[in-house]
Amino acid sequence: MARYGFIAKRVAGIVPLLLGVIFAVFALQHVTPGDPARLILGARASEEAVEELRSELRFDDPVVTQFVRYAGNVFQGDLGRSLRASKPVTSIIADRLPVTLWLLGAGVVLSLLISIPLGTLAAMRQAGWADHAIRGVSLLGLTLPPFWVGIMLLLFLALPTGWFPITGFGDTFSEHLRSITLPALTLAISLAPIQIRSLRSAMIEVVESDAVTTARSLGIKGWRLVSRHVIPNAVLPMITLLAVEVGYMLFGAVVVEATFSLPGLGSEMITAVAGRDFAVVQGITLVFAVMVVAIHLLADIALAFIDPRVEMA
C-alpha cells in the first residue's frame, strides 16, 4: 500500500512542474524578439495578413489571458493547429511520436547491450588491456558526432549490404525493425560510453564493497555472487544515469532522425523550426519535456522498488 501512496505522491508532485513546462513553452513565442505574427508569416507577408493572423491568434489579449487560454487548451488535449500543414498539432504528434519512441527504445536497449558487457568486463579486468581498450573505444564513441556516425553507417553498412533502408520507417513491424536498427545504433554509440564508465566504476566499487566481501566469506561465488550481490547494487546508479541521459537522448534523436530521414518528432521539429510553425514547435517541445519528466518519475519509482532504503513516504 505504501508503494501506491508513494507513486500517487510522486505523480502529484510533478503537476506544478508540468505547469512550469507549459508556461515555458508558451513563453517561447513571446520571448522571441519581434511580432510573433510577423515572425510566423515572414518578412514578405503583407501588413493585412499579419494583422489578420494577430487577431485570429488573439495576440492582442493580455499575456496572462493568453497563457490561461493556452494552458486550458493543452489540458484539453488541444495543442493548436499547424499553419503549414493546416491540421491539428496533436495529429502530427500522433503520427510522429511512435517513430521517436521506437528510436529511443531501441537506442536505449542497444546501448545497454553494448555497455553492460563492456562495463562489466572493464571492471573485472581493471587496469588490464581489455579495460584500456574499452576506455579508448568509449572515448572515441564519445567524441564522434552522431550525425557523422550515422552517415558512416549509411555509407559503409547500409549501402554496400542493402540490408537496411536508407530512409523512412516502413509500414510493418519487421520493416520498422530494419529501419530503426542503424539509427538506434547511432544513438546507442553516443549513449554507451557514459554508461560504460558509470557501470565500470559502480561495479568496481560494489565488487570491493564490504557486502560483497561478506558474501564471498560465506562461500558465495561465481554467477550467484555476480547476479545476487554485484549486479543489483551496481545497476542502481545506472537507473539514475539513464534518467539523466534522457534530455541528451532527445537531442540525439533530433540529429539521428534528420540523418536517417526518419519521420519522427525530431525531424518534424527541424521542419517546423525552419518553417516558423510555432504551434508545432511548441507542441513537440511540450512532448519532449513531458517525456523527460515522465522518465525521471519512472526512475524514481523504479529505484524505490529496487532499493528498500528509499523511504516511501
Binding site: 564490504d210 560483497v212 561478506t214 558474501a215 560465506l218 562461500g219 558465495i220 550467484r224 528498500p308 532504503r309
Partner: protein
C-alpha cells in the same frame, strides 16, 4: 589434557607474509607470522591499529583487498588426522567463516535478512529455499534476535547495529563452519551491546564446539574470553601463550607496555600511561626488533637480532631476546 589439545592443532600458519605494492614501494603489513590454532579454543589476536591483525585474518580467508597479496607462508588445516594445505577458496563458507567489524556495511542492503541468512544453506548445503528460510529463522532465534519471524522479513538498514551483528553471526553459523574468524566484532557497537555480542559468541562456541579467533585491541576482552593470546606489533607476532600467563608475566616489552597502558579505574583518577613514540611506518621499519626504538630495555644487539619466537616456557613464546629484563624492569 593440555598435551592432548596441543597435539591436535586445527590450523597451522607458518611464516605468513603479506605485501602491498604501491607505486613500486613495497610494504609488508604481515611478516613472518606463525601460529597454531587448537581445536575448541579462543585465540585472541591483539595489537595496535595497523599491526596486521585484520590482514592476517583476511589472508587466512583468501579475502585480501585488491593490491594486497600473500607472498609467502603456508596455511594447513586438519581434517580427521591429516594436515593438509588449506585452499581458502574452498575453505571459505565450508570450514571457516568470518565476522566483520562493521555490521552496517557488511550486509547486502538490497536483500531481506532471511534471504541473507538462508543463502549459505542454499549455496553450501543444497537446502531448498523455503527450508533454508525456516532454518534462517531458527538461527535468528539461536543468536538471540527477538521476534525472529517478523524480523526475518526486515532489510538490514531497518535493524540496530547489535541486531545486524547478530545477523552477521547467524550468516556465519549458516555455513556450518566450525572455525569463526572474528575481526573486531564489537568495535562498531555500543558498549552495552559489546558485552552481549561477546557473550553470545562464547555461548555459541560452547554449544556448537566452535573454534574462534578474536581480533581485538581490547585487552580486558582478551583476558576475559581468550584461552590463548598472540600479540602483534608492526606486522609480526611478538609473543604468544596462555592468556593468564602472558598477562600475569609478559615476556615481551611491548606486551608489558600494552598492559601498562590499559586505563584503570582509580579513585581520584590516575594518570593515563601511554607507550612512548608511535608504531613504525611500515615503509621504514627499524632493523632487528621492530619495537626497539620505543623499548625502554633496548640493547645494541636488538638492532641486529633476527625475528624468532622462542619458547620461554611450555606454551609461551616470545620474540624478545632479553625477556628476563622485563621482570627486572617492572620490579625496579
Amino acid at each position: 589434557m593440555v598435551e592432548g589439545r596441543m597435539s591436535k592443532p586445527l590450523l597451522i600458519v607458518e611464516d605468513l607474509r603479506v605485501e602491498i605494492n604501491r607505486h613500486g614501494s613495497i610494504v609488508t603489513p604481515v611478516d613472518e607470522v606463525s601460529f597454531e590454532l587448537q581445536q575448541g579454543e579462543i585465540l585472541g589476536l591483539v595489537g595496535e591499529s595497523g599491526s596486521g591483525k585484520t590482514l592476517t585474518l583476511k589472508a587466512l580467508m583468501g579475502l585480501l583487498p585488491p593490491g594486497v597479496v600473500q607472498v609467502g607462508g603456508s596455511i594447513s588445516s586438519r581434517s580427521g588426522d591429516v594436515l593438509q594445505p588449506l585452499d581458502p577458496e574452498k575453505a571459505r563458507g565450508r570450514i571457516m567463516a568470518m565476522i566483520f567489524q562493521e555490521p552496517a556495511t557488511a550486509l547486502n542492503p538490497l536483500r531481506r535478512v532471511r534471504d541473507l541468512i538462508a543463502e549459505p544453506f542454499i549455496v553450501g548445503h543444497g537446502v531448498a529455499r523455503n527450508e533454508a528460510r525456516a532454518k534462517a529463522v531458527a538461527l535468528m532465534r539461536a543468536v538471540g534476535i527477538p521476534d525472529p519471524e517478523q524480523r526475518s522479513r526486515a532489510y538490514p538498514h531497518q535493524l540496530s547495529g547489535g541486531l545486524r551483528q547478530r545477523v552477521m553471526i547467524a550468516m556465519a553459523l549458516a555455513t556450518e563452519s566450525t572455525l569463526l574468524l572474528c575481526d573486531e566484532p564489537t568495535t562498531a557497537l555500543d558498549v552495552t551491546i559489546q558485552d552481549q555480542i561477546l557473550g553470545l559468541l562464547v555461548e555459541l562456541k560452547r554449544e556448537r564446539d566452535l573454534t574462534l579467533v578474536l581480533v581485538t585491541h581490547d585487552l580486558a576482552v582478551v583476558s576475559e574470553l581468550c584461552d590463548r593470546v598472540a600479540v602483534m606489533y608492526a606486522g609480526r607476532i611478538v609473543e604468544t601463550g596462555a592468556t593468564a600467563d602472558v598477562f600475569a608475566n609478559p615476556g615481551h616489552p611491548y606486551t608489558a607496555a600494552l598492559l601498562a597502558a590499559v586505563p584503570r579505574f582509580e579513585p581520584g583518577g590516575g594518570d593515563l600511561t601511554t607507550i612512548g613514540g608511535s608504531p613504525p611506518d611500515l615503509r621504514n621499519v627499524p632493523s632487528g626488533c621492530r619495537f626497539r626504538t620505543r623499548c625502554q630495555y633496548a640493547f645494541e644487539e636488538c638492532a641486529t637480532a633476527g625475528h624468532r619466537l622462542t619458547h620461554v616456557a611450555d606454551e609461551r613464546q616470545t620474540a624478545c631476546i632479553h625477556p628476563a629484563w622485563i621482570e627486572r624492569g617492572v620490579a625496579i
